[in-house]
C-alpha cells in the first residue's frame, strides 16, 4: 500500500515492500529502510534501524489522518494524504483564493470581547476577537481585508479548540 505523508513542506511517498512480524521493508521516497518496528505502548513504537534505536510517539491530532509525532530528538506534525484529503486540500486552497475566512483558535478558551459586528468592513490586521485561556488574553486579527459575514459566538461564551468563531468574507 502506498501512502503520501506530509511533514512540514515535504510530501513523502511511502510504500511497504514487505512485512513479516516486526520486520518491515519500507520505501520512503527513494530510500529503502529495513526496520524492526513494534508497538510498545499505546501509540508508541520502538524502531530499530541499522542498530540505531528510535522511540516514536504517535499522538492523534485533529482526526485520524493527522498526527503529532515525537522522537527523542524532535517533534513533527504529520498528515496522511489520501484521495479524500487531497480533494479537501485543493478545495481549501480554492477557498482561500476566493477570500472566505473562518477565524478559530487552536485551543479552548473564553470569549473576552468581539470588537466588530456583522457587516463591518475590516482591514487585514484588525482585531476581530479576544480570547482568554489560562490567565492570558490573545487577540485574533483578520488575515484579509473584508467584511464580517457571521459571528458565531458572543462575549462570555466558552469555546472549544478549532470551533468557528467569526467568518470574514
Amino acid at each position: 500500500m502506498a501512502i503520501d505523508i506530509r511533514i512540514g513542506d515535504r510530501e513523502a511517498h511511502v510504500t511497504l515492500i514487505k512485512k513479516e512480524g516486526s520486520k518491515a521493508t519500507i520505501k520512503v521516497d527513494d530510500k529503502i529502510y529495513d526496520v524492526d518496528i513494534i508497538m510498545v505502548e499505546d501509540g508508541v513504537y520502538s524502531i530499530i534501524h541499522e542498530g540505531r534505536s528510535y522511540n516514536i510517539e504517535m499522538i492523534q491530532g485533529n482526526g485520524p489522518k493527522n498526527y503529532f509525532v515525537n522522537t527523542y530528538y524532535s517533534s513533527h506534525e504529520l498528515d496522511i494524504i489520501d484521495a479524500q484529503s487531497r480533494y479537501q486540500q485543493n478545495r481549501n486552497k480554492d477557498g482561500i483564493h476566493s477570500g472566505d475566512k473562518i477565524i478559530s483558535t487552536p485551543m479552548p478558551g473564553k470569549v473576552v470581547s468581539i470588537p466588530v459586528s456583522e457587516g463591518d468592513t475590516v482591514e487585514k490586521g484588525t482585531t476581530i476577537i479576544v480570547i482568554s485561556a489560562m490567565k492570558m488574553e490573545s487577540e485574533y486579527k483578520s488575515p484579509v481585508d473584508g467584511v464580517v459575514k457571521k459571528i458565531y459566538v458572543t462575549e462570555g461564551d466558552t469555546i472549544n479548540g478549532n470551533q468557528p468563531l467569526v467568518e470574514i468574507e
Partner: protein, 504 residues
Amino acid sequence: MIKKVLIANRGEIAVRVIRSCRELGVRSVALYSDADRTAMHVRYADEAYHIGSSPSKESYLNGDKIIEVAKGCGADAIHPGYGFLSENAEFAKKCNAAGIIFIGPKWESILTMGDKISARLKMIEAGVPVVPGTQQRVGDIESVNKIVSEIGLPVIIKASAGGGGKGMRLVRKKEDLASAIRTAQSEALSSFGNDTVYIEKYLDSPHHVEFQILADKQGNTVHLFERECSVQRRHQKMIEETPSPFITQELRDQMGEVAIKAAKAVNYEGAGTIEFLVDANRNFFFLEMNTRLQVEHPITERTTGIDLVKEQIYIASGKEISFKQEELIQFGHSIECRISAEDPFNNFMPNPGVIRHISEPNGLGVRTDGYVYEGYEIPMHYDPMITKLITWGRTRTEAIDRMKRALFEYKITGVKTSIKFLEKIMDNKDFIEGNYDTHFIEKHLDELLDIHSDPHPTTTDMAIIGAYIDYTSKLEKLAMNDFMITRKGEKWKEYGLMKSLHRI
C-alpha cells in the same frame, strides 16, 4: 501541632503540600471547582470538598466559602499555596477571626509588604537598600520631573498595588514621562482598583536574585541562601537556580544578612522571599517581598535538605525552626525548569487540552513536581504551568547535563509544552557559562525559537515510517471489526469453556 490542613489551592502546589502533610501524619483537605473534580489534588487528599464553579473568583478566590468549608470539616489550619489568596491580608485576617490558623505571616506583614510604597518606606527605615525612586505616590508632573532629574533616566513607573507586570511602564525619554504615568495609572486602576503609582530607577542588565527566609514565633529568623531567577520572559520566571552563578560568597553573606533584617522589620513569621535586583557592578537593591511559598522553592529544598512546607507547618503550630543558621550548607547545585502547557513557537500561546501520554524522567538527581496524568484534561481556567522539573548536581555543569537528560526523557503528549524551548536554553552558550541577566530570553529569542533545521533526517524518516505503520494497521483493524463482531457470540462460548478448564 496542627492536625488537619485545608489546602486553599490546586495543581502542583496543592499536591506538593499534601505530600508533606502525609509525611507528617497531618490530614489533608482538598477543594475543587467544577473544572477540578478529576484533578490530582482531589484524588490524592484525604478529604475533598466542592467549592464553586470553574472561574477562580467563584471558587479558589472565594475566601468566605473556603473558611466555611474549613470550619465544617474541622480543619485547624489553611495552607494557601502561592497565587490565589496567598497574599491576601483580608483573608488571613478572616482566618484568624474564624479561629483557623493561616499558614503564613501575620496579616499586618502581608499588608505592609503587599503595598509597594509602604514596603519601600519600611525597608528604607530598616536600612535596607532600595532601588532609587519615589517614596510616595506620584503627584504633579513638576515633582516627578524633579525626581527623575535626580535619579536619571531610564525610569520605570510601577503600580503600588501591582504585580505580574501590570500597571508598569518603562520610560527612556523625558517627553514620554507624562503619558506613561497616565497609562500606568489607568491600568493600575482597572487591574487593582487603585491608581497609585510610583517611580523607580530602571537598572540596566539587572539580575533577579532572591533570598528564602524562615521566621518562627520565637523570634528566630534565618535565610536559606539565594535563588537566581533572571531567566524570565515578560517578568515571568522560567528557570531558577541555586547557587547563583553571578554572586560572590561575600555578597551572599551580605545579602543574606540584609534579607533577615528586611524580614525582621515587618515581624515576619513563616516562609517568605526577599527579592533583590543586583546590577552589573553587584550593587543590590530590595525589590519586593513575597509573603508566601515560591514556585521555585524546590531548588532551595534540594541544596539545603530542608522541607519548606514542613517548616511552615511547624512554625504555624508554634514550634521553633528545626535548625540553626550555622547548621545550613549549600550542598551542590540545583536548577528548576517550569514546564507549561503552551506553544513557545506560536507566541507562547496557552494550550489547554487532554494529556494523551506522559512519561516522566527519573533516577539520580531528578525531581518532578507535577499534577497531570494520562487522560487528564488541563482546564483553561487556571495557570498553564503543569509541572516543574528540578535537577541536582555536584556542580553547576552536572546539574545542567542532568537537566538536559531529564528534559530528553520528559514526554508529554496531547498538549504543546515548553519542553523544547527549555532544551534550547540548556544548550545556549551564555546560559551554560552562567553569563546571563534578566534580558537573557529577549536577547536570545530568535536563536531559542529556531527549530526549523532538521539535524536528524533519518529520525524524520523513522517518524514517517511510524505514522505509516500506525495508520495502515488502524485501517486493517477497522476492516477486521465486522468479522470480530459477528464471531463474538462464539468467542464468548470458547472463553467460557477455557475458564471451566482452568478452574481448579
